[in-house]
Amino acid sequence: MKVLITGISGALGRLVAARLAEKGHEVLGIDVRPWYHPPDGVRVFQGDIRKRPAEDLFRTQRPEALVHMATVTHLTHRSSDRFRINLGGTQAVFEHCHAYGVKQAIFVGRHTYYGAGPDTPLYHGESEPPMAVHTFPELSDLVAADLYAGSALWRYPELDTAVLRLCYTLGPLRQGTLAAFLRGPRVPTVLGFDPLFQFMHDYDAARAIVLALEPARTTDKPLRGVFNVCGPPPVPLTVLIRETGRRTLPLPEPLLRPMLGRLGLPQLPKGALEHVKYPIVIDGGAFRRITGFEYEFDEDATMHAFRDA
């Protein structure tokens, strides 16, 4: 199968590309960032998914499947740019899929969609609304991108679309939201709170994305719908910090807020503190049942892989 990956030069994108190439797929990728030495079977085009050359890629190369990973978070991009990439970019690639006969699309989203708060339940199901819009405004464009991608299910019924909401990824790549939060030797926590954190190994995340391109085990048809994707059971933040070789720095909330981004502490938007106080835990049962996905790395192996990388 000919697969196009947007955002291929990201750490997870490279991993997915390599896995697909190993399985004998023809892999194309587009990214504004370069990837100088991709493995055999992977071709990378440098460019912006919202620009003309991206459409040309769809027209001339005629990929059969799309893996859309070109979304960005508040960690790397500030507001207006981020909105354009996440919303404009997602709209563009889905329109190209429709226009140029792509058969299958995978949107790689995030479990932070559900948001965190004192009254949110453990183990979110896919049908729950995105509370993140309320608790964490910086995530609203990602939430909108997720919902927009899901709307392709009725907008372009001929395109088999799967929206994956992945929990945090962690491991040897040391990339991503959680890795950024755990970067320093001291990790700030809100005094008196110790939420569960759910994460999966980088390799398991890549394997899940690759698996999502294969026919569903239950129907033998391409995957359609919205799916939570997770690995081992969640662990408390204090355990996560300890097992990744960091130290907790518990600070009272009124003190922590003004200190973020200073004194070597990670810079977090205001809403992110809710994610350090309250858990976001998803139920990945449907994805496991339909695709047969099972995680290979348990919580200890994942935390230690990050620590030892």
Binding site: P121, L122, L191, G192, D194, L196, P233, P234, V235, P236
Partner: protein, 297 residues
């Protein structure tokens, strides 16, 4: 404490749980009993909801003192609690705060073989309070959300519900033997998940915490729904005798989608049963009835 854990804890403030600043003792006998709670523990000693064995051991060690020594507790009808599988304990609120729930949790641990963890449906404000949010999450006392209730019952847990809600704990001393309006959610929940309801009566909480007034505005300053006040000031419970009566399980028949009037009949039936158990408990407490004359069925 395990030597490796102790070494880590020494240089890591955050691992000295619960509440990190209040190092509670653990009774080894209680810890051994916690090991026998039949939950899917992983090798860190926690379950998929983040319930932690070590925290439970600290909790029950603390509760053990109140349960066995401080109060004079009498428990009847524990044979009515299913030893395994889903069940819903439904009872009256008695006392200015959730002393009743806490003692029911203790009785499920100290009286049953094997011990069971009763999981309450906690008021939302608790999750906003530092330390309280932390500790309650580790001991399986989650926010009272329908999603939590359904999931826990489908996982064959023992759920504890007080359908009077916060209005129940706000009862004043003079109203201590009354029941305020019941919510109906618990009946739909029981029908939806095919869960037997074990009615329970808690008698004496009103005497333990004789509330004469509830200060709503002051409470809000501390993030509480209200602050109960007793004749001696703070709502510290008195060492009185408490009676807990568990009735025979009731498996309701019908659908979770029945109309409100059908559901209301089920609610009235359960409420009537609880009122009957409360009456018997009060007679016991006032020595007008002997334990062998109880009718729990």
């Amino acid at each position: 404490m395990h030597p490796v854990r102790a070494a880590t804890a020494a240089n890591d403030l955050g691992t000295m749980i619960p509440a990190s600043l209040i190092p509670l003792p653990t009774d080894p006998e209680v810890a051994a009993r916690v090991d026998r709670i039949e939950l899917p523990w992983n090798r860190h000693g926690s379950d998929p909801y983040g319930i932690d064995k070590r925290e439970l051991a600290k909790l029950y060690t603390l509760l053990g003192f109140f349960y066995r020594r401080y109060f004079d507790i009498h428990v009847y009808g524990t044979e009515n609690i299913p030893p395994r599988g889903r069940a819903m304990l439904v009872g009256n609120h008695s006392g200015g705060w959730a002393l009743d729930g806490i003692m029911v949790i203790a009785s499920m641990f100290f009286e049953l073989e094997p011990p069971r963890l009763a999981q309450g449906m906690v008021e939302k404000f608790l999750q906003k309070l530092p330390f309280a949010a932390w500790f309650s999450s580790r001991i399986g006392q989650f926010t009272g959300l329908p999603e939590h209730a359904v999931r826990l019952l489908e996982d064959d847990r023992l759920l504890m519900v007080f359908p009077e809600g916060a209005r129940g704990t706000a009862k004043l001393f003079r109203d201590r033997h009354s029941l305020v309006g019941f919510g109906t959610g618990f009946v739909r929940l029981a029908l939806q998940t095919n869960t037997p309801i074990v009615p329970l009566a808690f008698v004496g909480g009103g005497e333990a915490i004789p509330t004469i007034a509830n200060l709503y505005r002051v409470g809000r300053l501390f993030g509480l729904p209200y602050l109960p006040v007793t004749p001696y000031g703070l709502a510290i419970p008195l060492p009185v005798s408490l009676h807990i009566l568990y009735g025979a399980p009731i498996l309701l028949e019908g659908s979770a989608h029945d109309t409100d009037d059908v559901i209301a009949k089920h609610v009235e039936r359960i409420k009537g049963k609880i009122a009957d158990l409360m009456r018997q408990g009060r007679e016991l407490r006032e020595r007008r009835r002997k334990p062998e004359e109880l009718e729990l069925g």
